[in-house]
Symmetry: C2
Subunit: 277 residues, 2 copies
Amino acid sequence: MSGAQVGLAEALEITSTPDGWQTRVPEGYDVFGIPHGGFLAALGAQAVLHGSGAPDIFSITIHYLKKGAVGPILWSTSEVGGSRRFTSVRAEGRQGDRVVLAVNALVGDRSSITGPTWTATSPWEPSEARLSPVAGTPEANVPGPAIGERLGVRIDEATLGFVKGEQGSEARMRATVEVDAPNQLTALIACDITPPAVWNALGLSGWVPTVELTAHVRGRPAPGPLGIDVVTRNVAEGFLEEDAEVRDVEGRLIVQSRQLARYSEGPFREREPLQST
Amino acid sequence: MSGAQVGLAEALEITSTPDGWQTRVPEGYDVFGIPHGGFLAALGAQAVLHGSGAPDIFSITIHYLKKGAVGPILWSTSEVGGSRRFTSVRAEGRQGDRVVLAVNALVGDRSSITGPTWTATSPWEPSEARLSPVAGTPEANVPGPAIGERLGVRIDEATLGFVKGEQGSEARMRATVEVDAPNQLTALIACDITPPAVWNALGLSGWVPTVELTAHVRGRPAPGPLGIDVVTRNVAEGFLEEDAEVRDVEGRLIVQSRQLARYSEGPFREREPLQST
């Protein structure tokens, strides 16, 4: 497994070309050959932000249409409509002649929007956990992807039962990421950075490919590590949802996401990407 | 308040015109003058299903861009891309020259997709609750919208504290809807049919306009009433999320939705739609 040679800031760069906005999936920003879903969401966010000129994402939805590859993504963006505060922007990400990603976002400027704070949840407190990189867990037979190393992902060992072959626990995973200056793009990567939480409940039983991910960006993060709390509550009829909350070091909710993923039983098969490493 | 004169099946009808697909928001499918958000989601679902010819929605995202009105909506639809199982379809809903809705969905055929069932939640059991139409609650000073009558909405009285001026409870609302033959469109309406759950926690303190709603359709409902469980966990920086689960009479998850809504403190103001009735 190669490390991520390209730094995060550079990996998120976007350039204007005569054919549209261009981003790139560098080596090391994949998970066993497939571009990382959260990283693709961040690239989609770059496309809609640059296409619109707005500073903030409020909501972003990504349809993962085809398996992408390491290499360039060309984005065409357009504004669909909007109101005083919110503009609906779409972006299609192509690799070659294939549309691999369809992105739709509400963007605008959150600096003038305020309101009260109330929460029914008790945010996870990373300082009370034993944190470990997946790849650094001695029992792990699943290496962590390089992007996890790049973001300094540390997973709460209490939520790493699956790497020891355990199952029957809560379908939950908690982690922290350390980046120099977290922003909405970093937080979007973070919402999809852990292994599937369902593995702690049902065992390491399959590839869980994301079909769709919608993330609400709820605030601008303070400097410091991000805390991530991921949970799956329903597996049914070939699908599951995975919900994530990403909070900044002050405990403020920065990203709340939900993804729809395919889920089918059975051990890894030859054709599954995870097996091919 | 006028009742919904047009039946639900008729209200959901869609017709092909030279300019695109056309639906209609009839009188009585509004909430105090504004077309009902869940009903608009169902109309958007009709547009993407008819535009693509697919039988099933897997995921649908609606951006509520401008306040709509009772009357026709003209839809332009197009396919963005897809894979073997999933097609990404977009639809823009116009009233006059205004784009009021941007819809993006993953559609396909779920009949060949299967998988195991596992859940971490205890579905709400309507038979153990005292159910009441909002409008029929003696203490209620907020009349229920006509669409609630049309769908036979009955709300768990344990989650109706806000109509008595109470607050400080869980931001939760539970209800049932009775329709002759529930389907994915009915279930999409149902996921947004209750008053805002946040009112039970923070009081009847404002209009809570939906900005974006994403719903995952997880199955085809069995005949019988639908049960709805709605919760808000985070109010922050001018927004809240509202999560809904819609289950069929067998307890199967049919729709799981999350919406992003604006939320600001303070009593109703003159300009708020709820005040204008």
